[in-house]
């Protein structure tokens, strides 16, 4: 009896090995197939479908924004597939867009292995959130010539064409954002004492250097203290206490961790220190951060943005807003009103990819990259006045213009002066 079982197991094992080998051969052969004059299609694209890959945090502390990055783009192409049967490409063929999303838990190693898993079955990688995670497979994507485009990181390396030929960032760089704050403050003309609390990595450094660029010619601004924190810290109470002792009237809080941003706002209130706040775009959500942090207590909370906020009450009153929220529910199974901007951002990524696909005349990754780099002055859905998409500028991400906004107790208003 036992011998029969073992034998059976042996046969199954042999059969599996054979099946795998055959499958491998079939895939290898399929990729080369092309018909005569036209270029062979890249992986992940057929005459009727195109597949996009995403690796992003769907679990762990960054899962909130991460799930949003998948939801927005899924909603965009879900609606498009349903209404028009897909996107009409530059070669005249209409292709349904499919999305394969994997969870990396904000872990660089996992992101790399997700990429390895996806690279042969997707046409391009897109929309994924995170600097360390996107960096983890950037070099592999270059070596494999796989597009890694419209990724959600403010790290400028992704928009430098020499260093990153197969990459393109989506959101403004950390410097773009920091500089906008600096310029606004410098233009106020009044004297301000500023303190800075920043994350001890590229993220924080980028914001701080951008901010300093913005104020470099301004004699009315003095930075009186700069402190850092680690992304793994459970508390920044000590930092806020030390910063409060300077009695500065402005704090630039270059922070990317949601609970810490809330805690920082609360701690300052406990110490009865009420400066004006500058917060980066990804940690300034009215419902997720400012309300629990009781930000109305401060004279002003400023952030930068290029897109409308889905969590502001006015958003749901517009036709486009209602449609967006309905699409999110129907195609992406995302029931709540998103508290993070990333849902709208990745919806915009969908719209930009749509533009690029319309200009893609051959089903190759090469041709797609050229098409993607040729978009200028495109106003994607939900972009704020004064901002637009421009992919033609080397060294800049798809969106590099931001406007400064001030919290009004519910959502944000665009402002052009401080105070």
């Amino acid at each position: 009896m036992r011998r029969t079982t073992r034998k059976a197991a042996g046969i199954v094992a042999m059969a599996s090995v054979l099946a795998l080998a055959l499958a491998g051969c079939a895939r290898g052969g399929g990729g080369d197939g092309g018909d005569g004059g036209t270029a062979a299609a890249s992986p992940g694209i057929t005459d009727t479908t195109v597949t996009l890959g995403i690796t992003t945090p769907l679990s762990g502390t960054t899962a909130g924004p991460g799930t949003c990055t998948v939801a927005g783009i899924t909603a965009y192409f879900g609606a498009k597939n349903a209404a028009d049967g897909g996107v009409k490409f530059g070669d005249g063929k209409t292709r349904k867009v499919e999305i394969k999303a994997l969870d990396d838990g904000y872990d660089p190693q996992k992101a790399k292995s997700n990429y390895d898993q996806l690279k042969d079955s997707v046409f391009a990688m897109t929309a994924g959130l995170g600097t360390p995670t996107n960096r983890a497979w950037r070099e592999a994507a270059i070596a494999d010539k796989v597009p890694q485009v419209l990724v959600m990181t403010g790290d400028p390396i992704f928009s430098d064409q020499k260093q990153s030929p197969w990459q393109l960032g989506f959101v403004p760089t950390y410097m773009n954002e920091g500089e906008a704050f600096g310029k606004l403050l410098a233009a106020s003309g009044e004297n301000h004492k500023v303190v800075i609390l920043s994350q001890n990595d590229d993220y924080g450094e980028g914001y701080v250097s951008g901010f300093k660029d913005g104020i470099k010619d301004a004699s009315n601004i003095t930075v009186v203290k700069e402190l850092t924190y680690e992304a793994t810290d459970t508390s920044v109470d000590a930092q806020i206490t030390e910063l409060a002792s300077t009695k500065a009237d402005v704090i630039f809080n270059a922070m990317s961790i949601t609970p810490l941003a809330i805690a920082a706002l609360q701690k300052a209130q406990q110490l009865n220190w009420k400066p004006s706040w500058f917060l980066p775009s990804n940690t300034s959500s009215p419902s997720a951060i400012l309300e629990p942090g009781k930000a109305s207590a401060f004279p002003g909370v400023y952030s930068v943005a290029f897109s409308q906020s889905a969590s502001s009450p006015a958003f749901a009153q517009t036709d486009e807003g209602t449609q967006f929220l309905a699409d999110l529910k129907e195609y992406a199974n995302y029931k709540d009103t998103p508290a993070f901007p990333h849902c709208i951002w990745s919806y915009q990524v969908g719209a930009i990819l749509d533009q690029a696909f319309q200009k893609t005349t051959e089903p190759t990754r090469d041709n797609f990259m050229t098409a993607l780099r040729g978009i200028s002055d495109y106003v994607a859905p939900f972009m704020l006045e004064g901002t637009s998409v421009n992919t033609t500028q080397d060294g800049q991400p798809a969106v590099s213009t931001v406007v400064v906004q001030k919290y009004n107790g519910k959502g944000y208003d665009t402002v052009d002066s401080f105070g």
Partner: protein, 293 residues
């Protein structure tokens, strides 16, 4: 001076969070001889239950009390139907099972309530009291007081009650305990249940501060383990004092020791552990295990 007092009180308050988890770890360890890595996950689950109840309209304090009660049963059930299979075997296997349990609970919370940050109302207000130039929040004081009460209760349980004595007996030698008529299985269930209760209290204290997510306790667990090693596995008072020490020293070192600063402050508890383990391997307050030959 104001800043100094502020840093000390803030450190005590953060330390109290580590302490609550550390106490739960000590309790399981005293009852079963195991280190339960799932303790943080169990605390998060309890916090989610309280949060879910308040969402249904249950008042906060009642929600927390109910979650504490539910947690007791959950802890007992986990012991009875999962851990018991591994308790008498290789301790390494049991530890791996608790790590698996942690992953499972975190995933379950994420699946049930998403990974988004949820706002958990605080039992204590954010109002502050002025003391020696420092602003001390009612929340910090509340957290510290709750911790002191729990520490005293636990110490009393172990030292002054029959239940505590029985729990310790079971941990030290389950076989002899069984021979002397102690209901070993039931005691183990009570041990796990009580630890889950401590975790639930920790969860309710931390959630308002860190905002509720499935991974909320991950970092706190590391510090809690540090406090357990530093304070000594056998002493509830020891681990609480150690947790406070970690919280306070971290804060003070960041501000007053220039070469440490905020970048290296995370290393402070671990340097402390090395030093203590070299000088006193049983921890600051722990008892040395003596084996008679």
């Amino acid at each position: 001076m104001g800043t100094f007092i502020q840093l000390v009180v803030d450190g005590l308050s953060t330390g109290s969070i580590y302490a609550a988890l550390a106490l739960a770890i000590v309790l399981v360890n005293q009852a079963t001889g195991l280190i339960n890595f799932a303790q943080g996950g169990m605390a998060v689950l309890s916090a989610y239950i309280a949060w879910w109840l308040t969402g249904l309209g249950v008042p906060l304090i009642l929600g927390i009390l109910l979650s504490v009660a539910v947690s007791f049963f959950l802890g007992a059930i986990i012991e009875r139907y999962l851990m018991r299979r591994f308790e008498r075997g290789d301790p390494d296997t049991a530890v791996v099972v608790t790590i698996g349990l942690l992953t499972l609970i975190t995933g379950l919370c994420g699946w049930l309530w998403t990974y988004n940050n949820q706002q958990f109302a605080s039992l204590f207000s954010l109002n502050t009291i002025q003391f020696g130039g420092a602003s001390i929040s009612v929340r910090s004081l509340g957290t510290i007081v709750v911790m002191v009460v729990m520490m005293i209760l636990l110490q009393a349980l172990f030292i002054g009650t029959k239940l505590g004595l029985a729990l310790r007996a079971v941990a030290v030698n389950p076989q002899s305990a069984a021979f002397s008529g102690l209901p070993v299985g039931r005691l183990l269930m009570v041990g796990w249940g009580l630890a889950a209760v401590l975790g639930a209290v920790a969860g309710a204290l931390v959630a308002p501060q860190l905002s509720l997510t499935p991974g909320m306790m991950d970092t706190a667990l590391v510090y809690a383990l540090a406090a357990v090693i530093l304070g000594g596995m056998t002493s509830p008072i020891g681990v609480v004092v150690a947790a406070w020490l970690i919280g306070v020293l971290e804060n003070l070192a960041a501000v007053y020791v220039p070469f440490i600063g905020y970048d290296l402050k995370v290393a402070v508890p671990f340097i402390l552990i090395f030093v203590v383990l070299i000088v006193r391997p049983q921890g600051l307050f722990g008892r040395r295990t003596v084996v008679r030959v």
